[in-house]
């Protein structure tokens, strides 16, 4: 009981994850700044932002639905933190695992988007409503290639459990190379989930202020920002567990470093994408996902089916 509480709240649970997400945000912002030839923020910037928001006054619009407005950020944070427990990190086993946990993780990662929708919708600001509708529209575009990309790897491993997937790829080294296409597709789809630049249409600040977050302030905003940061870390951890399950040495310390390197290189790719491309329009985004990403993910699935047929022979 005590052990479970410890691992949920402190390590590798909420506090560890929050620290990791601050590190992730710092690296993201620093790389973004360096690529723009700037100095960038100091290392404590994400922590300072978070504490400042915690200490600020909290305004809830009188028109807004109080309960929904307050619950949405908590739901979002809780679901991303829960998703983290099912992902194998530096050990080949996750904290909790059962057959089918990959689907649970994918759906837990969808809850934040829905929470943002509910919070934004019930804040009754027009900008927030436009933002939330856009984020739902976007959800239907990126979710399919993301699921197909990640499940194609599971298909090859012939299991629905993340722990078993890692075990399979450790037993069959080099087979993860087959999934490289799926990795790229899922990474692009993840950008949509995280609402990062080519797909930051729901919070396009030059058009609709701050999207679903427009009316949020103080603690609630702090938790929304924390959720997005944690989601980036959890998404990166999921991709590294599913697509990059190599270099496991079974030495916990070394594996931890390797895990961090994998995580940070995925963060780097996300920041790189954020710097070099401009924002798409919502129709262009939906078109891109359905016309290019989904067929590519389909091809990845077919490839994995073929490989599986050959292997079974």
């Amino acid at each position: 009981m005590f052990n479970a509480m410890f691992s949920m709240i402190i390590f590798p649970g909420f506090l560890f994850l929050a620290a990791l997400s601050f590190l992730g945000e710092f690296i993201d912002r620093k790389i973004y700044a360096r690529l723009q030839n700037r100095v960038g923020p100091p290392w404590f910037q994400p922590v300072a932002d978070f504490i400042k928001l915690l200490g600020k006054q909290e305004i809830i619009p009188t028109e807004a639905n109080q309960t929904m407005f307050k619950m949405a950020p908590l739901f979002a944070t809780a679901s991303v933190v829960t998703a983290f427990f099912y992902i194998p990190l530096w050990t080949p086993e996750a904290m909790y695992s059962f057959n089918g946990d990959i689907l649970v993780v994918l759906y837990l990662l969808t809850i934040p988007t829905l929470s943002f929708f509910i919070g934004g919708w019930y804040s009754t600001s027009l900008y927030a409503r436009i933002g939330t509708v856009r984020s739902l529209t976007q959800l239907f575009a990126y979710e399919v290639p993301l699921f197909m990309g990640i499940l194609s790897s599971a298909l090859l491993a012939n299991t629905w459990s993340l722990t078993k997937i890692t075990e399979f790829y450790v037993a069959h080294p080099w087979l993860w190379l087959m999934n490289l296409g799926g990795f790229i597709i899922s990474l692009i789809a993840l950008l949509g989930k995280l609402e990062k630049t080519p797909f930051d249409i729901p919070e396009a600040e030059t058009e609709i202020v701050a999207g679903a977050f427009t009316e949020y302030s103080g603690k609630l905003l702090a938790f929304l920002r924390l959720t997005l940061n944690i989601e980036m870390i959890v998404g990166a951890a999921l991709l590294s567990a599913v697509f990059l399950p190599f270099a496991l040495t079974y030495n916990p310390y070394l594996d931890f470093v390797i895990f961090l390197i994998k995580l940070l290189s995925i963060t780097f790719l996300i920041s790189l994408a954020r710097t070099v491309v401009a924002r798409l329009r919502i129709d262009q985004m939906v078109n891109f996902c359905w016309k290019y990403l989904v067929p590519l993910a389909m091809m990845q699935l077919l490839l994995n089916l073929a490989v599986k047929g050959v292997m079974i022979k």
């Binding site: 700044a33 700037r38 100095v39 300072a48 400042k52 600020k56 030059t206 202020v209 427009t214």
Partner: protein, 147 residues
Amino acid sequence: MNVVQKVINWSRLKSPWVLHFNTGACNACDIEIIAALTPRYDLERFGVLLKATPRHADILLCSGPVTRQIEDRLVRIYEQMAEPKFVVAVGTCSCSGGVFNGCYNIKGGINAVIPVSAYIPGCPASPKAIMDGVVKLLQSLEQKEGK
């Protein structure tokens, strides 16, 4: 002062998010504010981020004299910001009304309508002056809250 309050004060000084609002400027001051936010000057070094909504912002950067048209909107935006909040008047016009002072459609400087924490004169105020003003505002807060 207890530790928690100290940490909160520290975080406030390290992460001032600004909101830019044109209260009737001739546009030159706005261009200078935008210039101060470009990579050339890189205000993110000090944790400054430009926010688009008053709910997220800590500092309201106002430029230009307050026209009668904008008065209500200025007050509304000020009231939409969460405490603690500060107002910085950028440019001679927003300090006192400047060359527009006495016009039939002008109320005067920003302080004729809402309380102002720092004044940055200049026509237009240069990006370096704006940065200096914001840093001085933060320093004065540090002294006040450090006691």
